[in-house]
């Protein structure tokens, strides 16, 4: 019997009887390939919590009559080699109906083609590269907004607030995600007619960014635009403040983590981040999500909310195909998903199989993310 990373969530036998169905519920297996170890482990942990909570809530709610979801979670160690191995397990051994993940875009470009070839629907929950993910093929979908969907509007909102004309840009150039974020920032700033007074890079293992920051600040920018993973983000913010930078700092998707405040402390105040998840939103779906996470004593971030939404989208697809949970049923269902209430807001897939919902700009104030109106 295989126990590894397998968490099955079952109805109590009694509640099954209450649904009035004589036959046992159909089990629909969903595989989740997450980075639970390695460099992206911090994101994987949030995603795991979101997926387990969503599966549990859906099964309890009885929303899918006669269908029970089962999540199989495997670690890809943040590497493409193991990401591919996990996908092949899901497709051929566990015979899952759909796959969620993988956490990293680099891994996705290596593993998603396998699912496409085997006609297994994939839901990306954190791959934000604008190109190269959903264009792999018609079986690859995503709920995570791309950087191109979040950053330009958030930068515009920030400009409306500060009216900046001169921006300095700092980004991690040895990581696919931060490099992709930089590309979007660059073209967004150009489109806004902002002058980029300096561009600098750092590498993931760096802890000291003072040389880059000193050079950038010397060019007298009005805003500091940063594409970094959270591990680097708190250090960058802290050192920028130490060097006397009082102005606004605009961060990419990697800044979307409570770790930013817990590591940078007061230095994080005044950091602006475009976000796919409006945490303070009082939509019923968002409140239900926050309650579900609070019940599990988990402090969620955007990655958790996106993972939760990924499961909701699969459940909705099953419902829309008449309660059938085969691979083709789920893909056919995805085509019809529209107006779905999720923690991220009202959700739909567009014709490119990318998710569509509203994005927001948030700022760190009093140690918390708050939405900029």
């Amino acid at each position: 019997m295989r126990l590894a990373g397998r968490i099955s969530l079952f109805f109590a036998a009694a509640s099954l009887l209450l649904t009035g169905s004589a036959r046992a519920a159909t089990v629909v297996k969903i595989g989740a390939a997450l980075s639970l170890t390695g460099p992206a482990a911090a994101y994987g942990a949030q995603q795991k919590a979101g997926i387990l909570a969503a599966v549990d809530e859906i099964n309890k709610s009885g929303r899918l009559k006669g269908v029970k979801l089962e999540a199989i979670i495997e670690d890809d160690a943040s590497t493409k080699e193991q990401g591919i191995a996990v996908f092949q397990r899901f497709i051929n051994k566990d015979k899952v109906s759909a796959i969620i993940g993988p956490t990293l875009s680099n891994t996705a470009t290596a593993a998603d083609p396998l699912a496409q070839g085997a006609k297994v629907p994939v839901v990306a929950i954190s791959n934000t590269l604008p190109k190269g993910i959903t264009d792999i093929g018609p079986y690859i979908w995503r709920v995570s907004l791309t950087e191109a969907q979040v950053i330009p509007s958030a930068l515009k909102a920030a400009q409306a607030k500060f009216g900046f004309k001169r921006a300095a840009v700092l980004y991690g150039n040895d990581d696919a995600f931060t490099q992709g974020g930089y590309g979007v920032m660059k073209s967004a700033l150009e489109a806004m007619g902002t002058t980029t007074v300096g561009t600098q890079t750092f590498a993931k293992p760096d802890k000291d960014y003072t040389a880059q920051l000193t050079a950038l600040l010397a060019a007298k920018p009005e805003i500091l635009v940063v594409s970094a993973l959270v591990e680097n983000a708190s250090g960058i913010v802290t050192q920028a403040r130490q060097l006397g930078w009082q102005g606004p700092i605009f961060g990419g998707n990697g800044f979307n983590s409570p770790k930013l405040m817990s590591n940078a402390g007061p230095a994080a105040e005044g950091v602006y981040v475009g976000t796919a998840w409006n945490k303070p939103s009082t939509d019923a779906a968002n409140l239900a999500f926050q309650k579900a996470m609070a019940d599990r004593k988990h402090d969620p971030d955007q990655f958790c909310a996106q993972a939760y939404t990924g499961v909701l989208a699969i459940a909705e697809a099953i419902k829309l195909s008449g309660g059938k949970g085969g691979r083709e049923d789920i893909r056919a269902g995805f085509l019809k998903v529209k107006g779905l209430p999720t923690p991220l807001g009202t959700f739909a897939f567009n014709k490119d199989r990318d998710g569509e919902h509203s994005a927001a700009l948030q700022v760190v104030k009093d140690g918390k993310f708050q939405i900029v109106k």
Binding site: G132, A176, Q179
Partner: protein, 305 residues
């Protein structure tokens, strides 16, 4: 039958990676066979991977030609690299070649034409498992022919005592350079196969930790015989998949467990099995023979009493 197909499909990538990792481990082994610790293989593999991907995608070359490019280009780079660095001995050669590997990786990170850190994606999958294993088989055949030949003796002499070998008239620098070039070609070939097996290549896959993995394969398997590297690669590539099943039983997260087991295996092998895992059966046989020998006189004495 269907079940068998499923098992094969499930472990297809692991099976493929055993072959790719075996080639990479062999690329380290060939230099070790003449006593040189050269750690440039991640850089060579990167050159092979990128060159072959560009050859099939941009130049529309047939896959076998692309593989040829993947093997030849790193070999060409290895000649001017090897001439100066092979004068260095021991860990200094290792450090210089690590430096070379990092420069290659950083060059790819900064090269916009190949998308920097995002790497080349949507590479057609042209490498099948039989091709990977054919490459391994041909390499093993070559190395088997070298063993026991004039070449083999020369390499062994250089490994044991280079100054002595030189006084015997063995041109040690040429031999060492030849092995470095062969290692570069093997690494490049592995890189070319990997690129066309996994749909993408990115610079992060060719960092310092990758070359450390290759060295560990070669050492754990056994660096004294040519099939040791293959055994090491097979053992350590299967290990993470086996640990997936084991992790919940021992109550440690799979990630730390994988690291822990890797570290322990390496430490135990270097301390107690300097000739690698492939020497384990022989060691056990010797042990048993020794024990039998120790018991035999005792038994005889008992019978006499």
């Amino acid at each position: 039958m269907e079940q068998l197909t499923d098992i094969y499909l499930t472990y297809q990538s692991t099976i493929g990676y055993i072959g790719i990792n075996a080639l990479l481990a062999l690329s380290i082994y060939v230099s070790l066979s003449c006593g040189q610790l050269a750690l440039g293989s991640a850089g060579f593999a990167a050159i092979g991977a990128y060159a072959s991907a560009l050859a099939t995608m941009k130049a529309d070359l047939p896959f076998p030609v692309a593989l040829l490019v993947a093997a030849l280009l790193p070999a060409l780079v290895a000649v001017p690299l090897g001439l100066p660095v092979l004068r260095l001995k021991g860990v200094f050669l290792a450090i210089a070649t690590i430096g070379f590997g990092e420069v290659v990786r950083l060059g790819l990170v900064n090269w916009d034409y190949v998308n920097g850190a995002q790497g080349i994606v949507a590479i057609p999958q042209k490498a099948s498992i039989w091709m990977i294993y054919l490459a391994v088989a041909v390499t093993l055949f070559l190395l088997w022919r070298v063993r026991g030949s004039k070449w083999g003796f020369a390499l062994e002499a250089i490994r044991e005592d280079e100054p002595a070998a030189r006084t015997m008239g063995i041109p040690s620098t040429q031999y060492k350079l030849a092995m470095l070039v062969l290692g570069a070609a093997l690494a490049g070939l592995a890189g070319g196969l990997e690129a066309h097996f996994t749909f993408m290549v990115a610079p992060n896959g060719f960092g310092f930790s990758r070359v450390v993995d290759m060295l560990v394969f070669a050492v754990v398997g056994g660096a004294q015989v040519f099939w040791g590297a293959v055994a090491g690669a097979a053992f350590l590539t299967v290990l993470p998949e086996a640990l997936r099943e084991l992790a919940p039983l021992v109550g440690i997260e799979p990630g730390p467990l994988r690291l822990l087991v890797n570290g322990l295996v390496l430490l135990l092998v270097i301390l107690f099995l300097p000739a690698g895992l492939v020497s384990l059966p022989r060691r056990l046989r010797e042990r048993r023979a020794a024990r039998k020998a120790a018991r035999a006189p005792a038994g005889g004495a008992g019978a006499a009493a």
